[in-house]
């Protein structure tokens, strides 16, 4: 059905197109997120919604790497783990407030991104996929073996977030903190995607050799995408620790990385609204279909293959054409006006 919508110019398709191009889409999404607790605010509902938001943040971060730049990262949970562990260790062992750990987490994520991306991004992109897969395992096993990370039992008693003396550690406070942070993260990633750097990323995704020939330093641009993804993942890790107050190695298996990837692929690689919806879908669906839990991952696997064969662009594809910003339009007008003046005399 969906394929028909995209290919045949029916009324439904026109409507869908308009919906996709609606510039208030983000605000509508934010309003839905902000108002959702007024419909149902049980602890269970809030925790499901908070997890969904975290998942959105992870998916948007991975979208920078996979969607914009076309690099397959199969160990994304590693950055998530680094964020959660660095902030968790600093908060529980050294008594730092959670917010103070943010800069340290960013530094740690960047360093990890450079260590892994540095050597592998020079090679064919296939290598990155499998090296990141190995990296995910390295981080998980390391966390499992070290004493400072609490070994197999992990870290518990991670404090909630307090901002300017306001305690945000309750379920409602945490939910709204996540709404704000994730909204900023989504916005930030979308803006990055539309920037000069984002254009370079998409160029590399489409044709790396052509991009190189056009003077793009492909290695540095790819590394930037990888590091960007790392930072998003690390920050999501802090929120994860704050939400659960306990973290342990089994939370960061390959399954997580694969599920995040699934959200990105299903929603539409490179498309912000698609990825956000994909993430919500992947994270909320299991709560709705508890009985079908056994079939879930099997179906996910089949779904990945089917989507790749029949609808590679995802359910909500990224638009190929860039929208001109208002500044561009103004400049173009000025330019035209100037030209007109030149011609007149």
């Amino acid at each position: 059905m969906t394929t028909n919508f995209a290919t045949s110019p029916t009324r439904a398709s026109a409507l869908f197109d308009r919906l996709q191009q609606n510039r208030y889409l983000g605000l509508i999404g934010l309003a839905v997120a902000a108002l959702a607790p007024f419909i149902t605010a049980t602890n269970y509902a809030l925790s499901v919604m908070t997890s969904a938001l975290l998942f959105v943040m992870l998916a948007v971060g991975l979208n920078i790497v996979v969607g914009y730049c076309g690099l397959l990262d199969l160990g994304y949970a590693a950055f998530f783990a680094i964020g959660a562990y660095v902030s968790g260790v600093l908060a529980t062992r050294y008594g730092w407030p959670l917010l103070a750990t943010v800069p340290v987490v960013i530094v740690a994520a960047v360093v990890a991104g450079i260590v892994i991306g540095g050597p592998t991004l020079r090679l064919r992109s296939d290598y990155l996929a499998i090296v990141t897969l190995g990296f995910g395992e390295i981080i998980r096993i390391t966390a499992n073996n070290l004493t400072i990370t609490g070994g197999p039992s992990g870290i518990y008693g991670i404090p909630g977030i307090t901002l300017l003396g306001i305690d945000l550690s309750g379920p409602v406070g945490l939910y709204y903190t996540c709404v704000v942070v994730v909204a900023l993260a989504v916005l930030g990633a979308a803006r990055l995607g539309r920037s000069r750097l984002g254009r370079a990323w998409r160029f590399i995704r489409e044709d790396e050799d052509a991009a190189e020939a056009m003077g793009i330093n492909t290695y540095r641009v790819k590394l930037a995408a990888y590091i960007g993804g790392a930072i998003w993942g690390g920050l999501a890790g802090i929120l994860f620790g704050a939400q659960l107050s306990a973290i342990s190695p089994p939370s960061f298996t390959f399954l997580w990385s694969a599920l995040i990837l699934m959200a990105v692929v299903l929603g539409g690689m490179g498309s912000t609204p698609g990825v956000v919806l994909g993430a919500i879908f992947i994270s909320v669906l299991p709560e709705l279909l508890r009985e079908a839990a056994d079939y879930r991952y099997f179906v996910f696997g089949i779904l990945l293959i089917v989507v790749m064969i029949f609808r590679r662009q995802g359910l909500w594809p990224a638009r190929a054409v860039e929208r001109q910003s208002r500044r561009d339009l103004r400049e173009a007008e000025k330019h035209d006006a100037g030209k007109a003046k030149e011609v007149v005399p």
């Binding site: 199969l74 499998i130 190995g134 499992n144 696997g301 990945l304 293959i305 790749m308 064969i309 590679r312």
Partner: protein, 297 residues
């Protein structure tokens, strides 16, 4: 020390068998088959299924039974590899690399959790255990079974080497890996040869699966994940796309792991192996035997 070397060689021969499939497929169509480790798992489970059905008979015969089971498992996993190629990879030949990689991840997921549906999430215990008499060679304890498993592995590898270097199919494989289009013009049935490659590679992984099941005694649906990664590491160490390299890389990785484990502790074994992958890709991405390949635009 000799014991360490022996254990390394033994584990390395498993790695080599799995790495061969990886490297063959990669060498011919430049595809990282993430599901390859899961075919190894499939092989172990097929062996388990056959042994459970023919239970009493098998335990009596011991090693011979395992050989028969090995052949059945190889045929089944080979067919599974064939189907995988036909359903998931062939429609995407010529598609962007990213799509193919994602399909491979999907295939891996589907096989793992499909097996979980069939066999349940708990580990199964292999009905035939290969624990038996041992002999001392230069201070290392070697069981007869270990020695015969290595022998099987060596025979399989020798057979493969003959197939690739000495038969028409092998020549066709090498031709396709050099230039698929030109091979097509020369009248090679490219699709059929690729399908055969998948069959052989998967069958080898299945054989390794049965052998690992018989040796370690315990199998579960996620067992293919780590071995897939290790086999890839082995393939990279030897030079990916190079068949002799995969054998060499497997043995090298087994030895490195065995010595490294003794040196820094067993819980760090996997970290040690994957660090080697990263180091190798940094210092010598073409591996020990690989040649520098120029990318065609």
């Amino acid at each position: 020390m000799t014991q360490l070397l022996w254990n390394g060689l033994f584990v390395g021969s498993f790695y080599a068998l799995v790495a061969l499939g990886y490297t063959m497929v990669y060498g011919i169509i430049r595809l990282l088959n993430f599901a390859h480790g899961d075919l190894y798992m499939l092989g172990a489970f097929v062996g388990f299924g056959v042994l459970s059905v023919a239970g009493g008979l098998a335990t009596g015969l011991g090693f011979v039974a395992l050989l028969i089971v090995l052949i059945i498992a190889m045929l089944v996993t080979g067919t599974a590899g064939l189907l995988l190629e036909r359903i998931a990879y062939r429609p995407l030949r010529g598609a962007p690399r990213l799509s193919v990689l994602i399909t491979a991840v999907g295939a891996s997921f589907a096989i793992e959790y499909g097996m979980r549906l069939v066999a349940g999430p708990n580990p199964e215990v292999y009905p035939v255990r290969l624990a038996g008499d041992s002999v001392n060679v230069l201070g290392a304890r070697i069981t007869i079974q270990q020695a015969s498993l290595i022998l099987i592995a060596v025979l399989l590898m020798a057979g493969l080497q003959w197939l690739v270097m000495g038969t028409g199919t092998g020549r066709a494989m090498r031709a396709i890996s050099q230039d698929p289009t030109a091979a097509l013009y020369m009248g090679i049935n490219v699709d059929a040869v690729i399908a055969r490659t998948f069959f052989i590679g998967s069958a080898l992984a299945g054989a390794a699966g049965v052998m690992a099941g018989g040796y370690y005694g315990k199998i579960d649906f996620l067992m293919g994940f780590i071995i897939g990664l290790k086999a890839f590491t082995a393939a990279v160490i030897g030079g990916i796309g190079n068949i002799k390299g995969a054998m060499l890389g497997g043995l090298a990785l087994g030895l490195l792991e065995s010595i490294g484990t003794a040196w820094i502790g067993g819980q760090w074994r996997d970290v040690f192996a994957f660090s080697f992958l990263i180091i190798f890709l940094t210092l010598r991405p073409t591996g020990i035997l690989g040649e520098r390949v120029t990318e065609r635009v």
